[in-house]
Symmetry: C2
Subunit: 210 residues, 2 copies
DNA sequence: TGTACATCAGTGAACGCGCGTTCACTGATGTAC
DNA sequence: TGTACATCAGTGAACGCGCGTTCACTGATGTAC
């Protein structure tokens, strides 16, 4: 993939090489995905977003039909990223324990832009159109399944129910930790959430079994 | 407190009776408290808010220094209301069980405007100025204490830690329930959250004790 | 008793601003002849 | 080889709109003389 040079075949010195537009689109989505999680969807404007991607705002609508259209894509990417991270943590570290530590670690609290979109945007997305929420609706079960896979016991339904509760507990705990300004206290909120998640996992069949 | 009549002493036929302005202010705060929880702070404008309170927008700044000023008051009122409701539920019904049922009931999920401001606004408020978050910071410990009061065991610190985890679990569960569009599934999310909260309460000393 | 004035909650026009969105344009390309 | 043209990602001025905020004003009151 030469950057510049001769003009044989014309592809190398093309102003926009093949796949350029798709790459630009992905760059916009990546920037949006981060900024929406950091500042909320409503607080992020198209012009600023495009500037973050080293573009001017006018070109936005050759990539997306509307801001709402971008929101769906950005949320989808954010959730897929988080799912990937959690899956990796579960595989490389100790199963559910890896997920819990990754989700409730102080770095996740401190960098919402790289973190879980559910914790960052749940309440706001609940007020967006159904078409936008679809990106989230499709992926919520994957979070639940990922957790359920690593729960003990033979009753799959109990594992699923327990996984929902654990995920809810982690989401709420992370949000509480972000609201507490004192860092020592906030760390403790995270630690308590982790203890709770482990306790729920251990008692999965006992509490959620039929 | 006559509404109209003679003019002896002049107070009765005053255009604005004593306490009128304070009553108007309270009306604005009450409307804001509800609408912020329903639609988010960013999505609610001053003009619409004042119209909801049967006023025109111009008078807003004789009551509040800024929109941000109102946000603090509205959040404080919302939290105090919710604290009062949960306290009553705990006293009149069965302690923690009353709190869990009140917090995770479908009506709470379906009417965020009358519900917990933490669940409705946590992520958004985390991005507001520290002065605004102060209203929330002061009240979070009261939620924790209220729950801790109704937990079993002699270790007060364990009860506090457990209460934080239970509150986080309830907040996150309510938000997940609001994201799930299918009502049967959403009801199940709430039920699972309640099971989890009870399980955490029962194992309070075991899991959070020193 | 009657007139002039201070008070003050609420009104509504107006302010600058940033939003999402549109559109005529730019300029570097490959293709046609 | 040289000229004319189509393509198209990205540009930037402009659109109407609603935002938070300001301010001169209204009108009903109580008070002063």
């Amino acid at each position: 993939m030469e950057k510049s040079g001769g003009s044989s075949k014309g592809l190398i010195t093309m102003r926009y090489e093949k796949g350029h537009k798709e790459a630009t689109r992905k760059r916009i989505v990546a920037v949006a995905s981060k900024r929406f999680r950091e500042d909320g969807v409503a607080a992020v404007g198209i012009a600023g977003l495009m500037a973050n991607a080293d573009l001017t705002h006018g070109g936005f609508y050759s990539h997306f039909a509307s801001k709402e259209d971008l929101v769906g894509d950005a949320v989808a990417e954010a959730l897929d990223d988080t799912l990937g991270v959690l899956r990796t943590e579960a595989e490389q570290r100790g199963g559910l324990e890896g997920i819990i530590r990754a989700y409730l670690r102080p770095a996740h609290r401190d960098h919402p832009g790289e973190g879980c979109a559910v914790a960052a945007l749940a309440a706001e997305l609940a007020r967006h159109p159904a078409a936008t929420r679809e990106a989230l609706s499709q992926r919520l079960p994957r979070f639940v399944e990922l957790i359920a896979e690593h729960l003990p016991g033979s009753d799959a339904e109990a594992r699923r129910d327990c996984a929902v509760a654990i995920f809810g507990a982690m989401v709420g705990t992370l949000q509480l930790a972000r609201l507490v300004s004192d860092s020592v206290e906030s760390d403790r909120v995270l630690a308590n959430g982790a203890v709770a998640a482990r306790a729920l996992a251990t008692g999965c069949q006992e509490h959620f079994g039929a």
